[in-house]
């Protein structure tokens, strides 16, 4: 009898060993996972069932189809090609260009000048006042300057960079989870570089999820792999009806669209696309994701609002050409781990004061 018990005991040990092995062999794969097929392996929660399976892939495809159709329609609407004159100011010299109205973009102008400018250009400045996306067609006669990360005062470029990072963070959050975990993106607060982290607020079908270190690493890897693809950011202005159709699967966006459209002339909504991810943003954004160099997703905080529980994804990144040693970058990462006090999903103010925070104590 005792012999039998011993055998049973050994068998049990073996079984435990096998399950442990199973966990550990999956762990590295989650770190190395590509954005294509492996979803984030949330080891504690991936076995939770009961939440409805949603086909995010199909939704994304549908959204892209609408985007493509609308883009094609707008392109055809240009009709007969008219010429505009663009005077380019700045290095290497002042130049005059004759471009196509509604077709040519600042990027095309840079292509005429030099490859170095094409690689450097993050944003364009039209008529000394308007910030213009690099891939946005020009509409009128104008003067143009290029903005880049190493300008004397790159304030606007930094801001656009931070906005782009928030946008991509949304893409990562949307992509990274397995299909049985419903993800709905809410929005991100206005970009503020000084806050130390870029943010995206997301509602997840997980309750009180605390990401492990490896989960964050997986998210960071996804972010970096998106950046490495060097995807251009396409901008499109669409009517609110099209926007409502496009984001029909996201209740938050459906709610936001009328508000956004009413504040814009022509009742339009601006959407951006990078790869197959589409999101609403006022813009402007930098030319492409290839400008992102070092990046880390540092924290996912739970935040409670009237709309329910949200997860605030936070990260920090530096542009490609800007080098910082690991100690300095570590300081930035540590700071980005603290809860960002940017606008909450249901708020109208730009900031909130979390309970028991230092700012509350000081006031």
């Amino acid at each position: 009898m005792s012999w039998f018990l011993l055998l049973l005991y050994l068998l049990l040990l073996k079984l435990i060993n096998i399950t442990m092995m199973h966990i550990f062999t999956r762990l590295p794969s989650s770190i190395r996972c590509s954005c294509k097929d492996n979803r984030l392996l949330n080891l504690t929660k991936s076995f939770s069932t009961g939440s409805p399976a949603v086909d995010t892939k199909q939704k994304r495809q549908r959204r892209n189809e609408i985007f493509d159709l609308e883009k094609k329609r707008q392109k055809e609407k240009v009709g007969r090609i008219e010429k505009i004159s663009v005077s380019y100011k700045g290095p290497p010299e002042n130049m005059e260009f004759v471009m196509n109205r509604g077709i040519s973009t600042p990027y095309n102008i840079a292509q005429h000048i030099s490859e170095a400018i094409v690689n450097k250009m993050a944003l364009a400045l039209i008529d000394d006042t308007t910030l213009w996306d690099v891939h946005r067609p020009l509409e009128n006669d104008c003067t143009m300057q290029i903005l880049h990360f190493e300008d004397q005062d790159p304030f606007h470029v930094n801001k656009a960079f931070w906005r782009t990072c928030s946008f991509l963070l949304g893409a990562v959050a949307d992509n990274a989870f397995k299909d049985h975990i419903p993800v709905s993106l809410h929005s991100f607060p206005p970009p503020n570089v000084k806050s130390g982290s870029f943010v995206y607020d997301v509602q997840l079908g997980l309750d009180s999820w605390v990401p492990a270190k490896d989960d964050l690493r997986t998210l960071s890897a996804e972010f970096v792999s998106l950046a490495k693809k060097d995807l251009p950011l396409e901008r499109l202005e669409i009517s609110s009806e099209v926007a409502l159709d496009m984001f029909a699967d996201n209740a938050f966006k459906v709610e936001q669209i009328p508000d956004i459209a009413s504040s814009n002339p022509g009742n339009t909504v601006t959407v951006y696309r990078a790869g197959d991810h589409i999101d609403i943003s006022r813009g402007p954004m930098i030319a492409g994701t290839g400008f992102i160099g070092r990046a880390t997703i540092t924290a996912v905080h739970q935040i409670q609002t009237d709309l329910g529980q949200f997860y605030r994804f936070q990260g920090v990144a530096l542009p490609r050409g800007i080098m910082l040693n690991h100690f300095g970058y570590g300081i930035l990462e540590d700071r980005a781990r603290k809860l960002n006090t940017g606008r909450l999903p249901n708020q109208t103010d730009d900031y909130f004061t979390p309970l028991g925070s230092s700012s509350e104590m000081a006031s």
Partner: protein, 229 residues
């Protein structure tokens, strides 16, 4: 052992010498080659920054370095140095420049006196090109100094991190001071220690507060929210 130390007879070059033989041919054979080297050295001392084929500059650089180090070492009264200078520098006023301007400039240098950078060549010229310059020249720098610009994104982020760190530290110090004051009150009647804490440096008070917190950890934490109201 009255032998001279051979290693110190000639001053050591502060640049890395590439031991490989370079293709470097000129009209006039060896004489033409030396003539060209003299031209380059003279040009460098005259203009302080020159662009030419890489091989020429790389070879002439050593002679320029040697001239300057000898000028610093021996001064203008040393016959051999003067002879060498007037051989390499084909213009008389540059010899004066070497002893009166460059030697004082490089007196305190502990790095090389020249700097060489590779630059791109343009089509008809297939040889690699370079720029050779004397350090401390009056021209604008070849590369902009990125670290100096406080508006660049990493500097903005670091500056804000610094501010936040300081704010946290001040808060901590203030909290410790308050804790200490509370502790002094509860002990009843020790005004001398209170005045000590005011005069003492922040570091001292922090250390003292640390010790007081160790004694009464619960009290410290319970006082913290009171300060907010």
């Amino acid at each position: 052992m009255n032998q001279a130390e051979v290693s110190k007879l000639v001053s050591q070059l502060r640049i890395k010498v590439d031991p490989h033989i370079k293709k470097f041919r000129f009209k006039g054979g060896h004489t033409g080659r030396v003539y060209r080297l003299r031209q380059v050295v003279t040009g460098l001392f005259k203009h302080e920054r020159i662009e030419a084929n890489y091989t020429e500059l790389d070879e002439a650089r050593g002679y320029a370095e040697r001239l300057i180090s000898d000028a610093i070492r021996h001064g203008d009264t040393h016959e051999e140095t003067m002879e060498a200078a007037s051989y390499w520098l084909t213009e008389k006023q540059l010899v004066h420049k070497l002893f009166k301007v460059l030697a004082p400039r490089y007196q305190a240098y502990d790095i090389s006196y020249t700097r060489m950078l590779k630059v791109s060549n343009h089509f008809p010229n297939i040889h690699p090109r370079a720029v050779l310059e004397l350090r401390g020249n009056p021209y604008p720098p070849l590369f902009p100094n990125k670290n100096g610009n406080r508006n660049l994104i990493h500097n903005v982020l670091l500056e804000e991190a610094k501010k936040q760190f300081r704010a946290e530290k001040y808060e901590e110090i203030a909290k410790n001071l308050e804790e200490k004051a509370e502790a002094a009150k509860t002990e009843t009647g020790s005004p001398s220690s209170d005045s000590d804490s005011q005069t003492g440096t922040a570091a001292q008070t922090m250390v003292e507060a640390e010790t007081s917190r160790e004694i009464e950890p619960k009290e410290g934490s319970s006082h913290a929210p009171k300060t907010t109201s």
